[in-house]
């Protein structure tokens, strides 16, 4: 008898072990993400490209969480937060949260991360913006931090959510020597996924962080591993997609997406984002060569010359809509009705004739991405008789040209980092200090600063309304359309796109049946 019992027990043990590894084998779901941009560092402090934002959603947790559907601010690492006064924020840190390296999160880590992100020696990429509002931060209780601001800055929660990844104390200053690249290759974050390997220019492997704190606001799907693959040109990525090596990809040009729809096993999902494309018209002219300036009539003529419907239908695709104000409709303070310029070539030609812009003068239109869109716009401008030349260059060269005042007009696009607030676009483009400011008008800059120096929503909306309507009346900008976020997803994956265009990959779930039961 006992032999039989022993046999029974041993066979039971064996079966459950088998079940376990079976489960293990099946459960290990890997999602391969295809990126067109080469990520040079894992550290969110030193990367601005959108792809690094997507990666940091997986690996880093901020103090605040932005709900992808409602875009409201909710506590994440912070258990509770409240504004003791307009310029002081008290945050209580959640207990028992572990770093990927196993260390426990403390208030000192939060203070260190805030100080480092805003410090000059850190040279992080968002230090200028943080320095405008961050005064100081210090620990006031074992798990409580007080953050003091220079003035009642309305977007403090957004910055804490996106721009300040939390690092262990002193991680950048090993033994007194400042090493900004400490976290570049092996990241010690707090997010739901841990980095296992990083081959620059090739791929990044991520794995689910087992003891991620339970009561996190982030709704987690059932993906175990992520493999980020980086491609230098779209041809090689498409080959990989067609070959079945990529399950999720985004920011694909429109014409390729239509082809991809024909591929079996892949679906094309459209989502909104905060990005808009526009044509900025410089009024300062080129100080060095004293070229003539586009006057009001010429700018209005250009507004009438561009056929926005065609751009939306063919170049930007479904989910894109034409806009009149120089901001994204979802952003707080973006006025619904501003001066509308309809597409009318005859009116544009008449206006141009009346304006002081002489025909022979060559207008350099600069662009640094989406060459096809730029070519269509230039074609439209040529149609009304403007002598236009397209200068398609790299961003670095465009910046240099802008600083030297050579840029009269450039085609750009702005995603505001997913901020649902008009301040992000206004501050970057019309604030006197900003390198992107082609208008150099003191009045406008003062009104922009005033609009973002307090957090009363009604007043800010009124202020932004007359800023944007003023820009529309003076036709400083030619706002074109919103840019939808376009995702290419394998059929067995379910992914709901967020409203602000930042992809939350951790929400993805594998819908293949055998895994769920």
């Amino acid at each position: 008898m006992c032999i039989a019992k022993r046999l029974m027990r041993r066979s039971l043990m064996l079966s459950c072990v088998l079940l376990m590894c079976a489960y293990q084998a099946q459960a290990a779901v890997t999602v391969r993400v295809g990126l067109l941009k080469e990520l040079t560092t894992l550290d969110r402090n030193y990367a601005t490209v959108n792809e690094s934002l997507v990666l940091s959603q997986l690996t880093d947790d901020g103090l605040i969480y932005i709900d992808p559907r409602t875009l409201n601010y909710e506590p994440l690492l912070a258990e509770r937060y409240f504004f003791k006064s307009p310029t002081e924020l008290i945050v209580t840190i959640r207990k028992g949260v572990r770093f990927h390296s196993g260390a426990l999160l403390t208030a000192d880590d939060v203070v260190y991360s805030l100080k480092w992100a805003a410090s000059n020696e850190g040279r992080t990429h968002r230090r200028h913006m943080l320095q405008t509002w961050f005064k100081s931060a210090h620990v006031i209780a074992p798990y409580q931090v007080s953050v003091r601001l220079k003035y009642d800055y309305p977007l403090v929660l957004r910055d804490l959510a996106i721009s300040v990844p939390i690092r262990r104390q002193g991680v950048y200053q090993q033994g007194g020597v400042i090493d900004r690249g400490a976290q570049a290759f092996m990241l010690d974050g707090l997010g739901p996924y841990r980095i296992t390997s990083f081959e620059p220019g090739n791929r990044i492997l991520l794995e689910r962080f087992t003891d991620y704190y339970r009561d996190s606001r982030k709704y987690l799907g059932n993906i175990d591993r992520f493999e980020f693959k980086m491609f230098s040109n779209s041809a090689s990525m498409l080959l990989a997609v067609e070959h079945g090596d990529v399950d999720w990809s985004y920011r694909l040009p429109l014409d390729i997406s239509e082809f991809l729809r024909a591929l079996q096993g892949m679906t094309l999902v459209n989502g909104t984002s905060m990005r808009i494309t526009f044509l900025t018209l410089g009024v300062t002219g080129n100080q060095r060569i004293q070229e003539p300036v586009l006057d009001l009539l010429a700018r209005q003529a250009i507004n009438h010359a561009i056929n926005r419907e065609v751009l939306v239908r063919y170049m930007l695709g479904t989910g894109s809509q034409t806009i009149d104000a120089a901001c994204h409709p979802q952003q707080l303070g973006c006025p619904a009705s501003v001066k509308h310029y309809d597409y009318d070539v005859e009116k544009a030609r008449a206006l141009l004739a009346k304006s002081s812009w002489n025909r022979a003068q060559e207008l350099n239109v600069w662009a640094y991405q989406n060459r096809h869109l730029a070519e269509v716009i230039v074609a439209d401008l040529k149609a009304i008789g403007l002598n236009v030349r397209l200068r398609y260059v790299s961003l670095a060269t465009l910046n240099q040209a802008r600083i030297q005042g050579l840029v009269q007009a450039y085609i750009g696009s702005w995603g505001s980092g997913g901020t649902p607030d008009a301040a992000a676009i206004a501050n970057a483009h019309w604030f006197m200090e900003s390198p992107r400011n082609l208008l150099n008008s003191e009045g406008l800059s003062a009104r922009v600063v005033a609009a973002q120096s307090h957090s009363d929503p009604e007043l800010r909306t009124r202020q932004y309304r007359d800023i944007f309507s003023d820009i529309a009346d003076q036709a400083y900008w030619v706002p074109l359309a919103t840019v939808p976020a376009r995702y290419l997803i394998a059929d067995w994956l379910s992914f709901v796109p967020s409203r602000d265009g930042i992809a939350r990959l951790y929400e993805m779930t594998d819908t293949r049946s055998h895994v769920n039961d």
């Binding site: 690249g181 620059p200 090689s236 990989a240 070959h243 961003l395």
Partner: protein
């Protein structure tokens, strides 16, 4: 003999250093004029920091001071020392270029020898015509066509990445094809010249022939011209790698150069330019020493350095 060789090598080293200095100076000037260093990388919400406007010349002097001590400054894009980034990407490019060079050499030697052994005029004329035409076919067209045939239609080879050695086959083929025409042309001319030389007829009339004649006499005279063309091709190879790596999206030095030029990462561009210059000059130095050792009187000095 050794003393003359040493003198020759010393003279060439001095010139090599001079060349590298001049190249680094020119690159620094061009880069400083055309790309804005500090703001380029910062990207979206940056407010301009009015640092003191340093003149290009003082910038170069300061850069040189650091470079001599071996630190090429910090890359803005990678936030790490330039050298460590280069080391990471070095292996791929070394593998790609050396394999392509060896492949091109073997392939062109084989072609030239078959045209010599077949010794029929039509084959050699067709070979010359084909080489002259392929001399102008750009490497990236070749690369794209290879991708379309081998990795899309036939699905034999991966089209990108450097995960395993399979993905090296197509890029090496593309680069080798870009080099072969020039090598074949030069080898063919040199071979015909050496074979029509007087001493070959003399030796043949005295009964020396076949393998013995080639090994002892003909190869020794072929090498100087061949080596000097290889030194020039090696330089073209480095620039060719930029195009091939961007077509096959391999993370080598070429793609790193392109990325840093696009993103305006000043320190990285200048460091890479200096690295390419040092590589080109050292390849030529080695080639010249070899030529000098083989036949001290050879007029076909490596025409890179005087």
């Amino acid at each position: 003999m050794i003393k003359r060789l040493a003198l020759f090598a010393a003279q060439r080293c001095v010139l090599a250093v001079l060349v590298v200095l001049l190249v680094s100076f020119m690159t620094y000037m061009v880069v400083d004029v055309t790309t804005d260093a500090n703001e380029a990388i910062a990207g979206e919400w940056v407010v301009i920091s009015h640092g003191v406007e340093t003149s290009a010349l003082s910038g170069y002097r300061e850069w040189l001071f650091h470079a001599i001590q071996g630190s090429f400054g910090e890359s803005l894009l990678w936030n790490r020392s330039v050298m460590s980034v280069i080391e990471q990407h070095l292996a791929t490019t070394l593998w790609l270029t050396s394999a392509a060079l060896v492949g091109a050499l073997l392939f062109s030697t084989m072609l030239v020898m078959t045209s010599y052994l077949l010794s029929n005029a039509l084959f050699s004329r067709v070979l010359i015509m084909v080489c002259m035409v392929f001399h102008a076919l750009p490497a990236f067209t070749l690369g794209l066509i290879l991708i379309w045939i081998f990795s899309y239609k036939l699905d034999w080879l991966p089209a990108s990445g450097t995960l395993d050695w399979h993905s090296f086959i197509l890029p090496v083929l593309a680069l080798a094809f870009a080099l072969t025409p020039r090598l074949v042309l030069v080898m063919d001319v040199t071979l015909k010249q050496v074979l029509s030389a007087g001493f070959v007829l003399q030796l043949r009339s005295c009964g020396v022939h076949g393998w013995r004649l080639w090994v002892d006499h003909i190869v020794v005279n072929l090498l100087p011209a061949l080596l000097s063309v290889v030194s020039i091709q090696a330089v073209h190879l480095l620039t060719g790698a930029v195009v091939t790596e961007s077509v096959f999206s391999m993370n080598g030095l070429g793609r790193l150069t392109l990325e840093s030029v696009v993103s305006g990462d000043v320190n990285m561009i200048v460091a890479l330019a200096v690295l390419f210059a040092v590589a080109a000059v050292s390849v030529d130095l080695v080639v010249n020493l070899l030529i000098f050792a083989i036949s001290p009187h050879a007029e076909t000095r490596g025409n890179l350095l005087p």
